[in-house]
Symmetry: C2
Subunit: 214 residues, 2 copies
DNA sequence: ATGTTTGGATAGTGCCGTTATCCAATAAGG
DNA sequence: CCTTATTGGATAACGGCACTATCCAAACAT
């Protein structure tokens, strides 16, 4: 398969494919000679993966490169590969640790993890970007005066844990190690937009159910 | 309060505040004379809201303007205001309806809504941007060969419905109508990043629990 | 009175995903 | 073959976006 065909079958313009090749998101094709390179089904699959991460997962190109780098890194165990890939995902800007709201949020999220029993990798978890994002979001909500029950956060946490169990159960159904990691990463990158869409649909549904259209 | 103080108390540069004023994200201050305008606590709150939507919710400036426009629109009932605000949120690019994967995904998502009993606003729901996002995500996953059990999607849907129930229960605790809508919108914009962070933490936790660090 | 600060208008900056333009080498068609 | 079109690679250009910097005249502070 040559560039033009790869482009046709994926729906991505040749210019963009060239760009991805340059950026290292796509491995180069098998070079036949100076002006011909041959691509295969694996390239097509990779290209679709990249597109999905960018369009559905809204990841920046640089992040896709980083995430795929971790997925491809065979020197790490599964948990660490998954962790590394997840850590590369875009996060909220660094919070100001001197801010009182941020400090209070640290406190609250710490208690949350305690309550949920997510102490497994506590040391690790508290420096995880996801932890930081959570702290920033909690702080933002409290700064706006939304002073909600910590119990609510626990309920959300339990729900998302159930989702994670579903994710990882699904990962188990895939045979190869490489596929497992890729699947897990997709679980974060593509399943999250899905959960988000479901969340919004559920809100619309529940709102209509409760209040009609007034 | 003048611009400089608003800037100091919010941590946002005066240049950026001016930009938000220009973009209509912030109502103008009370004009004292040609070179002086007076801002109040409501401006500060609004500014924090805007910042949270941009930094935590990752919304583009234009989207924030649109969402806030709907929140402020007092001519609509609650469900419609919420719906309008949710519909303004950034979505996945328009899918190619001729694509076979997209068509299959429509089918599958339709069955999902049926199973979940979210037929309440079915006509509305199927043209909702969230519905479209869901279809695109499902299609992308299947295109990559992830051919998972429809039952899984149902489980995710039930989880997110539980989350939506929590959201709206919380909204009930707020007295005023305007606050209710704002709260509901924040439920989509700020709670979603929170859920996302919890999801990732839960994945890390569950992965470590199952496989250790190998 | 005079140096500083104010808000408003406008232009510029840096990043990022993508697209367009050239180019020489090579494949394809008659 | 010989022409014509296409290929991949390098480089530059583009358009959008979130800010940021520069000016300016009016008004405040001392």
């Amino acid at each position: 398969m040559r560039l033009a065909e790869l482009s046709r079958r994926s729906g991505v313009s040749t210019a963009t494919i060239k760009y991805y090749l340059r950026e290292g998101l796509l491995p180069p094709g098998r070079q036949v000679n100076t002006t011909t390179a041959e691509y295969d089904e694996e390239h097509l699959r990779r290209l679709r993966l990249v597109r999905a991460m960018i369009q559905v997962g809204r990841l920046p190109v640089a992040t896709v490169r980083e995430v795929l780098g971790h997925v491809d890194d065979e020197s790490l165990g599964r948990t660490l590969r998954l962790g590394a890939a997840l850590w590369a995902l875009p996060q909220v800007p660094e919070p100001d640790e001197d801010d009182e709201w941020i400090q209070a949020a640290h406190q609250r999220v710490g208690e949350l993890l305690q309550t949920l029993g997510w102490s497994n990798a506590k040391l690790l978890v508290t420096i995880s970007p996801a932890y930081r994002s959570l702290v920033v979001a909690v702080a933002a909500l409290r700064r706006l005066g939304y002073d909600w029950d910590p119990e609510m956060l626990v309920s959300y946490g339990k729900l998302m844990h159930q989702a994670a169990v579903l994710d990882l159960d699904f990962v188990e159904t895939h045979p190869s190690e490489a596929e497992k990691v890729e699947t897990a990463v997709l679980g974060a990158v593509l399943v999250e937009p899905m959960l988000q869409a479901l969340h919004r649909l559920a809100q619309e549904e529940e709102s209509a159910r409760r209040y009609g259209f007034e």
